[in-house]
Subunit: 319 residues, 6 copies
């Protein structure tokens, strides 16, 4: 069991609104910290939104997610999992992006995650817009392509925007497939919906063998059935979980830049995570939380509730 250093501050000792807010009230362990090597799962912020083509704001995501995360307690209600006892978890801090230079930022992110990987830490990232996933994958999938379970309302598989711009939050997984970071046959995208520019992204998915489960199919089949298929697609290999908060219906998660109506509710948003049990998850992210559009803070609270669900699954792998 995890030692005291890695235990979150209890709300019975220090009220949950008190204290310097780290992720889930965990110890802050920067990359140069002496106990970095003992960390199993690292929560990392990537406050960056330079890939955003519509409404900005995810650069403020990690700050607000940390704030909301102090409401999270130590035990999962259904599974009984106590992740902070099962494995060593810590807040590794934020990767500092360059808000005015996309390529520089991506290099910084990849460099950070290279160190995380080298330290044997599985990262659980709080973005940031969805372009964040690309430089993270460049570190995690350095050796071999990963499978991916991807919750979103968009495929993010477009070739380019605005006359050839290759790096936006609508293109990360196109790049990741092209760069060999993802094995398209082991990728499933769930919750896709909304009006479309055209079918270019769907055509690419079909050609590459990426499985898209649109929202109509999701609602018709239900969480358990859909997720059983998702597990089968991802298989036993190393898998990345990417969770765009706009997967959830915008009424439940208004704080995001490119909402699409008609998505899952908050219970389903949690359920899909529980069904990740059994996968070999080497990293995960929660992206596109945009505080300027989240006046009540409810999106961030849902975001960290989802992160806790994923964390419990990841902690269980290590048991």
């Amino acid at each position: 069991m995890s030692d005291d250093f890695f235990q979150p501050v209890s709300g019975f000792e220090l009220p949950r609104f008190a204290g310097v807010p780290t992720f889930m009230r965990l110890p802050h362990v920067p990359l140069e910290h002496e106990r970095l090597g003992e960390v199993d799962i690292g929560l990392i912020g990537v406050p960056w939104d330079s890939g955003t083509t519509n409404r900005p704001g995810p650069r403020h995501g990690p700050r607000q997610l940390r704030d909301a995360s102090t409401m999270i307690r130590a035990q999962h209600a259904t599974s009984g999992m106590r992740p902070f006892e099962a494995v060593n978890c810590a807040d590794l801090g934020d990767v500092g992006p360059n808000p005015a230079d996309i390529m520089d930022s991506m290099e910084r992110i990849t460099a950070f995650y290279d160190k995380v990987k080298a330290a044997g830490i599985r990262p659980l990232t709080a973005g940031g817009d969805h372009l964040t996933s690309l430089p993270v994958l460049r570190a995690l999938a350095k050796d071999a392509p990963l499978g991916m379970v991807h919750f979103d309302s968009h495929t993010d598989l477009f070739h380019s925007y605005f006359n050839g711009t290759m790096y936006t939050h609508g293109t990360p997984f196109r790049r990741a497939v092209e760069e060999g970071l993802l094995d398209p046959k082991r990728v499933v995208q769930i919750g896709i919906r909304g009006t479309m520019y055209d079918s270019e992204d769907r055509d690419f998915a079909r050609a590459e063998g990426i499985r898209i489960i649109e929202i109509e199919e999701f609602h018709a089949r239900g969480v358990e059935d859909v997720m059983a298929e998702a597990r089968e697609i991802a298989g036993d290999g190393e898998t990345y979980v990417s969770y765009d908060i706009d997967f959830v219906d915008p009424t439940f998660a208004p704080g995001t830049g490119t909402p699409e109506v008609g998505g899952p509710n908050s219970f389903q948003a949690l359920q899909v995570c529980r069904e990740l049990q059994g996968l070999n998850i080497v990293g995960a992210d929660m992206v596109e939380v945009s505080p300027p559009f989240d006046q009540s803070g409810g999106t961030a609270f849902l975001g960290v509730s989802i992160m806790f669900e994923i964390l419990c699954v990841m902690a269980g792998q290590a048991g």
Copy 2:
């Protein structure tokens, strides 16, 4: 196929937050425009709320709906319909009401829609409170009574308010039936709920043969079954679709003046529109969107998402 003039500005050329906001980024074609005669479906704003007996605000509806509508892209995700290519769509601008004179305003609205009808254009209206539907119907149903599929939490069938006031947003369809604009046997009202003053409106509906599907029945039977009945009631004749945003649960659509809890969610809000396929729709409206009560703008975005669904069905009729 529609020519270039009638194509919306693409978000890949001009980001969706840029540009003068017309409905769905369509060309602005006022009634005196030289190409008015080529328009098939006209999107029209009626910024008016003088019939509102409770919380005001729908006069600001068209402005906010236009703003939100620039997030709509060109293709429907499920049906693949590309309405702006299928038919000629345009933003016909707003009818200018007289905020301090109800009768004058109704005359202005009817006069505007007389011209729209004369030009062979099917109108898709953004209100405005629900009294808007009455002067619109006076133009559209000039020759013969219409059927109507009506989504709402209220029947709007009351005789009068406040000691005899005949024209409020609670009376338009009572007047419309009395004036012979609607054929009550071909009218169905879906989603009715909320606390009641009394049963006067229900008694009128029963006497006239209007079919009311209350929310309990809606939830019990589901969208497909309910809508199959609705299509049967409306039949093959000319039909009007009136969509009060308070049909949707107020958590999904808080920006409205007379909310009633317990309504459909956002996915159902879209689904009911898809099930209008096959009707002979001569006009439609989206009413009671009240921006002052819609701090996040989510209601307007849901409103235009619904308008796009209806537009796709209307565009399909022309195919």
Copy 3:
């Protein structure tokens, strides 16, 4: 039938946004009023949140609930019940708490409810945080322990907080069982969820025979089945209904201090009340509505809509 004095002001005479806001536009009948003895059901505010361990605000609940309650009309849509005609209802005003002294406040509340009970009035309380229920139960259960149907995301069965503090909004029902105010065998808690400190509350419940229906079970079985069991547990004896607004999903009810995602929607929030029919309800409360976190006012409107549902059931008992 109730006489004119006890009728709420009609929205057709005075618009619903007008007038001094009492609960549901009922007459204000303070304890010293000459007609107190004729009241059957008394709506009472307890503007108090000293037991709140997390985000404060329920002290403002009664004011906002009164404001929102002027949107409630006289008749229930489904059952046709007209509660204000069936029995005499009145707004008994607020119990004045001492915001800086918990014990003094609890005494004031119990003293108030002693008089309410003595006058033969069944109270429907608008809190206040959940500690409110304890001093109310001390008056209502003076003679014998009550059964309870409890809607909540938390059990509120903890022993103590912060090194031995016995009176917080997380402990009222632990105290109530210890003090013999509740018969644990006749207590059911519905909707329990969220991350946990530990299992101490669940252990207590199990030991005492309190039935906990967690949210997963609730979603799996549905409202009707769950509530049938709830009615069986509460039985024929005198029963209290305690409704914490955080039972409902926080998207539908953001205005509360300790939200937990994944709860029931607004339709289910009403349905569970309708299924209380047949119980012997001697009092009820709606607690934890926190206006500072309810920017749109939607939580308060849902809260009073639920209060109206409960009121209709209570009024039906008297028929």
Copy 4:
């Protein structure tokens, strides 16, 4: 001194957030109340905005002003005046308007104020939009024209709007002069500013002898100098005070429908009231407070703080 019945509830007995909110926690004395005849100053709500040509909302003003007014205590900090002891003050409730009929509403308002005047009560009104002042003046100036000190950013002296509409919130004082309710030589308008349609209103003022003090002159001369002139203009005769909240800079009072930037700050907003000392005030109003545009509630709190200042002056007259 005023007896106990007319004393507001003390915040030391009942916290200021508690209780049914009447104006300044005064007793609610409707027109049919047995003690109406003892009232000296009556606080009255007119929840009405049918004259609004721009952004609506003042119909919600009285409700929010009552709510905010429970923050007002019993004594003026500078003058030491305790108005509720000096004279009998009461909340007379709201005039019920007809939201869908301007002429009917004006008749209802005048009828209400006829009774108020007949009872010897000086009214302090909480609007409502500025058209409210006209039907009030029709009652108060029945016998002879009044002088007026008018704080506003607009003159409200226009002839008509929208092709001849005579009754809007931009025309009340044009009508009042035409109807002989105001003596234009004894009228002063202070704080006028903002972009203009044209100079028609200024031309009318000049022709009739109404004195307009524009904001530049106000800022240059200061409160004391300007108000000395204002007192001279109004003179010893019966005088009405009309205070449009948009007199104040919109940063201090955002909750209003037609803001104009560059106005007085909140301290000046109070100071001008103190300088009304010595006038013969027969009635006053605070209008155009629009809660839907006042998210923080600060406008309403400023509004009632101003009302308290005016009340202290009016109470001093009776001493």
Copy 5:
């Protein structure tokens, strides 16, 4: 006098909340419009914030400024200027930026303004963050360096950010001086304040002869005295006016990304513009309005009120 085509829609004909919102209700005249050559002053939106190093959002500025601008009427209250009659004004639409490529965006902007300048149109720009001024100046100062009157709380004279990033909203005027677009001896910066990283920007200003008037000096000397000096510095030559909304105190203008407390109030914000009279203004901008941080919309309304003041001065030049 300007012909009818260039007149804004009157609020007496079409209420100010109605219609497709162009800047100040002027005609929309894109660069390819046949009457472009007749335009004297062009209002242009640059919806772009890629240079923002702190809180994002100005990309939404033009949309919200257009919306608020429909509240502006035709005549200046103090000067009597009617700019839309004095000269031909039009809304030239937005420059489409590339949100994910700074260099591409700057080229697009300069190309747009090259055409504007070639058409003999003086631009009044609605940004966009402050980096916007650089590509605009590249077009306007192609032939010779300009003088500049710059209202801001920051100098925007930094060399670079984040290890050498040259193009951010903190560097535009450093670049402009280096590129010979501004004559530093004719540049004055007014309102500078706030905590500092270091003095590098001030050192540069001193070395180049740029005059900085810090806020303490501004408050001590007053608007007239400060602006007399500003006019003297800018002299008779061609001058650019750059107005960062964060010049104004953030209470009056919260909707901006890098606020600094202690600035001018809204009246002073207008006054400084009136004191620009007599300058030879070849272009002006209003930048850093960030709608996501402007919940009430008051910042945008102040922004367009300032734009109208500048427009009146520019229109007067042409007289």
Copy 6:
């Protein structure tokens, strides 16, 4: 000069929205930290509002103040002071209160500050409501009574509330004088205003020799003159500075529980701090910042801007 450990993170290295938010991006040095003894000035949060008699929320103050404080840079614009180089500053974390027990909380706070004082650290506190000052003073004034410069709209000198409750945010300085923690002859209260219950607090002040400078006097005399007197009153002895954010006008600082209109603006709010130069400040606090009523976050940003001003004065003492 302070070593690297005590330097805040630069915004040029890590953008200001990034990273775990400590006060002013300083190192987090809990009481048990090995370098505690090197700290000169400690920034401490007291997230507590149990003394609040009106609107709650200051328990959330420290969290939000930390968040806003990451916008503060390293150098004062006017004085050039670089406090983090002049002395060693650190974030000492929060004192954990007991939200449901006032006496327990006060003991915890005093115990914390005893250790701070013992370590030779001068505390700069972020409250918490104003009762916070009492347990802090109990530690700081253990040896001898302090002088105090107190900015506020209330005297906080009341004897008791609600029938004898001695510890609320309206009584701390009454207690402090009674307990010999303050020397009343060396206490000055600045900015007092607002409606009053009665004159009991003023009577006490007069009897004890406390100097009250009401807002009228403040506005009439100006900051410099008033503060010269304040410095004279406090004299050379050890002095505490207590700054209630409700000193500032509520338009500039809406996020507070008991606002009073008509106060100083934001520039004056900073100026008064600069005039503290020369005092012997042994501790200071910023209290009553209430995030739930501060939707834009502007109050917190003003609060930390004031804290930085005070910090610069305190840092200068040590030079």
